[in-house]
Structure formats: structure tokens, C-alpha cells
């Protein structure tokens, strides 16, 4: 293992320290809670619905990179691939502007669910209203009949963007939650892994992948995917991902989509654009208009090589919310 780090046990605290010092105008840690971060609110900001997210470390820019203007208001940060504590989530909640209520928006992982639910109970005791929406966009993680148990992956990017715009436009808590839920209901993701990832504290790859093979349907924690098969060229990989995603998206009522081609960490942008080119060709041939495309690193798994493809079916409201301005120093958005 060759990683640039000090003591493995300090990996998360060390990167958080550097990140806070790199972007003092954008992020702040909550006093007494180094694992809870908020955005720096512009002076004179009026109270809006707050969106609090969180999850394990090792996925940058997910989750904390989505704290920003027109995005989430705060985040709770866990150890590598491990849920944040309920106390950190509660601290992120209380440090947010929470008079109009708080949306908990995060990926569907059991540890995160337990800790966010605990935080919601404690917040409720303090008179703070919360509503929870969990992302379940990864088609490879369960069959359609069990879609509620699927894991949340890169599709969260599009949900953060739409829900963040809704909150900024002064939607109520229930309206903001409905936007988040509809964004996710309209989004499907599938990934492919080309090399494993190494949890700094464990120091060993999470799986072995023989030369010339790829892991189809991989998640963002290095979990094994649905099947292994022979490595293919970029067009064939793009086809496999797009077929998996389109099989479940109803595009008859909407022929407008947003497309996200995401690096799982190590895969360079050049390769992502080759995938995007094929996806754009296929969608154009199907008469589908790509309203927005995002290509880059949005939800990663440390140094894993591979990519994921997300497609979101757009309606008029989601289109205008997606187009709204947003900013985080960790993201390339529009």
C-alpha cells in the first residue's frame, strides 16, 4: 500500500483539518464537534429549510463537498466507509438554520440509517422538525421489486442539486423533501470497477480483481458487484451501464435527461469523456435530449478505478431546479 498519510487512524481527522484550512470561506466545523461541518452562510441570509447530509469518509467530494450555496447546509463525517455518529449528525443539525425544518438527505446504508434516525429522535426532543429522504439509485444493488433496499450512490449529486435549489427558493420542508424524493425516483445509476480500494486503517485491498476482468455493478465502498466479466472497450462498457440504467427509467413522458458520468476515484477524465461520447450517441439515437451533462469526480471510493453512469429523467420543475446556481469549492457544477 502506498498512501500519502500519517498515522492511518488519523486519516479522517488529518484530511478534515487540511480541508478546513484550505477553504475557510466556505466551511466551518461546529465548535466541540470536529466531525460536523457547516457552510459559511452569507451575511443577512434569510431562514430557509436546511439540508443535512452525511456518511462515511473516502468518497470525496461526496458527502461534505455538497455542503455549499444552493446545496446542503451541513454534513456529519464518519470514519472511512463508516457512518457518522448520531451526536455528530445532531450537532450538524443544530448548527444549521433549522427554524423552518431540516431535510436529512443521504445514501441508503444501514449504519447511516440507524444514526440519522437516532439524531432525528434527539432533534425532535429539541423541537426541531426533520424529514428523511434516502437515495436508492444503484440499480445493481437489488432487483426492482426490492428497489427500496438499494444503496445510494452518485445519483445523490442530482438530488442535492435539485433539493438544494428548492430550499434556496424558499420551498417548505415537505415540498423540499418531495423534490428530493422525486429527483431520486427519476434517477438510476450503475457502476463498473476496474481495481479495488484500500481502507487506510485496514491497509489491504477490499477485493482482488484479476488482470483483464472488471466488476460490473460495483458500489462506492468496494463492495463486490453483481458479476465479474472480461474487460471490454469503452463503448461496450458504456452500453452495459446505459442498458442497466435505461431498463428502469420511464422516458416516454419526458425525453429530457441529465447525465452524470462519475469517476470512482482513479479513473481519469479522458476515459470518462470517452464513455460520455458513447452515451450521448446512444441517447441521441433514441431521441432523448441531454439537458445537462456532468463528467468528473462526484462520488468516489478512494483510489478505486472505474466509473458510474447516472441518468435522471427531467420534468419542467426538476429542470429549472437543476439549472439554479450552486457553489461548493469541491465541485464542478453549473
Amino acid at each position: 500500500m502506498r498512501k500519502i498519510m500519517n498515522a492511518p487512524k488519523d486519516f479522517v481527522d488529518d484530511f478534515l483539518d487540511g480541508l478546513l484550512r484550505a477553504y475557510p470561506r466556505d466551511f466551518r466545523s461546529v465548535p466541540g464537534f470536529p466531525r460536523a461541518l457547516t457552510r459559511v452562510e452569507p451575511p443577512g441570509a434569510s431562514p430557509k429549510v436546511a439540508i443535512v447530509t452525511g456518511g462515511g469518509s473516502g468518497h470525496l467530494p461526496l458527502f461534505l463537498g455538497y455542503v455549499g450555496q444552493g446545496l446542503c447546509s451541513a454534513v456529519a463525517v464518519g470514519n472511512t466507509f463508516s457512518s457518522p455518529s448520531a451526536d455528530a449528525i445532531l450537532a450538524a443539525t443544530k448548527a444549521s438554520e433549522c427554524r423552518k425544518g431540516v431535510l436529512y438527505l443521504y445514501g441508503n446504508y444501514s449504519g447511516d440509517g440507524i444514526n440519522f434516525d437516532d439524531a432525528a429522535d434527539m432533534a425532535s426532543d429539541d423541537g426541531i422538525e426533520t424529514v428523511t429522504v434516502r437515495a436508492t439509485d444503484d440499480v445493481a444493488s437489488a432487483p426492482p421489486a426490492a428497489s427500496g433496499s438499494r444503496r445510494g450512490v452518485a445519483g445523490l449529486t442530482l438530488a442535492y442539486k435539485c433539493a438544494g435549489a428548492a430550499a434556496a427558493a424558499d420551498y417548505t420542508l415537505s415540498e423540499t423533501a418531495k423534490v428530493a424524493a422525486r429527483s431520486l425516483a427519476n434517477t438510476r445509476t450503475m457502476g463498473v470497477g476496474l481495481s479495488p480500494t484500500i481502507i487506510p486503517e485496514a491497509g489491504r485491498p477490499t477485493f482482488e480483481l484479476p488482470e483483464g476482468e472488471m466488476e460490473l455493478g460495483i458500489g462506492i465502498h468496494g463492495e463486490p458487484g453483481i458479476r465479474r466479466e472480461e474487460m471490454r472497450d469503452a463503448n461496450r462498457i458504456a452500453d452495459l451501464l446505459l442498458d442497466g440504467v435505461l431498463a428502469e427509467l420511464e422516458l416516454t413522458t419526458s425525453n429530457r435527461v441529465a447525465v452524470l458520468v462519475n469517476s470512482l476515484g482513479a479513473t481519469p477524465e479522458e476515459e470518462l469523456y470517452i464513455v460520455y461520447g458513447r452515451v450521448a450517441d446512444r441517447l441521441a439515437a433514441d431521441g432523448v435530449t441531454v439537458h445537462r451533462a456532468l463528467v468528473g469526480r462526484y462520488a468516489t471510493s478512494l483510489e478505486m478505478a472505474g466509473c458510474s453512469l447516472s441518468v435522471m429523467a427531467l420534468d419542467d420543475e426538476l429542470t429549472s431546479l437543476l439549472d439554479a446556481q450552486s457553489y461548493s469549492p469541491l465541485l464542478r457544477l453549473f
Partner: protein
Amino acid sequence: MGEYSPGTALERMLRSLIQHEEEFRELDAAAGDGDLGVTVRSAAAAIIEWLLQSRTTGSTRELLAGIAQVCASTSPSTFGSLVSHGLAAAAKALDDEQGDDISSLVVALEAGIATVHRRGRAEPGEKTFLDALIPALQVARTATSVAEALPLMRVAAIANTEQMASAVPKHGRAAWVGERARGIPDAGSVVVIRALEALDGSDGRPWDVDTVSQ
């Protein structure tokens, strides 16, 4: 506290779990995301530190509640959170007089398991650490002392975990791997087994992912 000394046994168990970090990591990586070794090691180390610093001389109830708190703050992963909630519920089920006798053990296990069941939303037989805990509870009910219960609990937990190894998991990250996790014992159940082995002083047979998965 009688001849059975929970403080010493507890610390021995925690040190044993730390020794098994790599086994937990490997089993978890085969079916899930591979963070279980780190979770268990860091929680066990933090509990030992807490025990040494607090030098707790309080009741079993206080001890369990304290350990639950350490787990929640140092290792809030799925496993760590469920263990924390289970221990907190076990603590609540005991009164200050109850301690290290067999009836207290059964009461604490019943409360802890019920909470893990409710919060984890997994059913028995779905290849989670409930499948080690529940058979252990069942045999503990038949025992007349903790010393008699521990080996029975260990044997029951191993038997059911081995039987469940051939099943396809239905919960957590392991469920996403589905068919490919067949043949691999549930990593959380193996943590329970290693804990029981350490408590009753027996040597565990190593669980090799490469051999069981073939």
C-alpha cells in the same frame, strides 16, 4: 463479585477481538465493504482505554451503559451502532442489584437482542449476527450458571453460523452481493463467536474465507 470475574474476562475478550481484526476484515470484505476489522478493533481498544481510565467499580448496568456509549462515539458503523443500542437496552433491563449471575445474563441478552432485531430490521435466518446471538440465548436459558452457559452458547453460535454460511444474506451490504456470499460465514456472527470463545477460554478454529468460499 463472586468467583467469576467480569472485569478480567471482559478485558481478555476485548484483547482477543483485537487479535482477530484481520479475520473480521477478510470475512467482511468477502461479502461487504471490509470495515468490520477496523470497527471492532477501534471499539475494543477504546473500551479498554475507558475501562482503565474510569476504573469502573459500578454495577453491571453502569458498565454496559458505559461501553454502549464508547461504541456509539468511536465506532458508529452498522455493527457498532447495533451493538451500542443492544448494550444500552441490556443495561436498561437490569437493575442496580443485578450483576453477573445467569438470570441477569439472560435478561440482558433478551433485551439486547430484541433491540438489535428492531433497530437492525433483520429477521433471524437472514444471515446477520442475530443468527449467532439467538441460539446462544436459547441455550443460556437452560443453564444454571454463567460458567455452564458460556461453552453451550459458543457451541450453539458456531453451529448456527456454520449452517447459515450456505445461505444467501438478505441484509446490509452483504445482501447486495447475494449469491456470491453463499458459503461465507456472516462476519458479525464470527465476532460474537470469537467473543464467546475468549470468555470461556477456548481456542477458536480459524475461519478461512478462501477455503469456505470454494
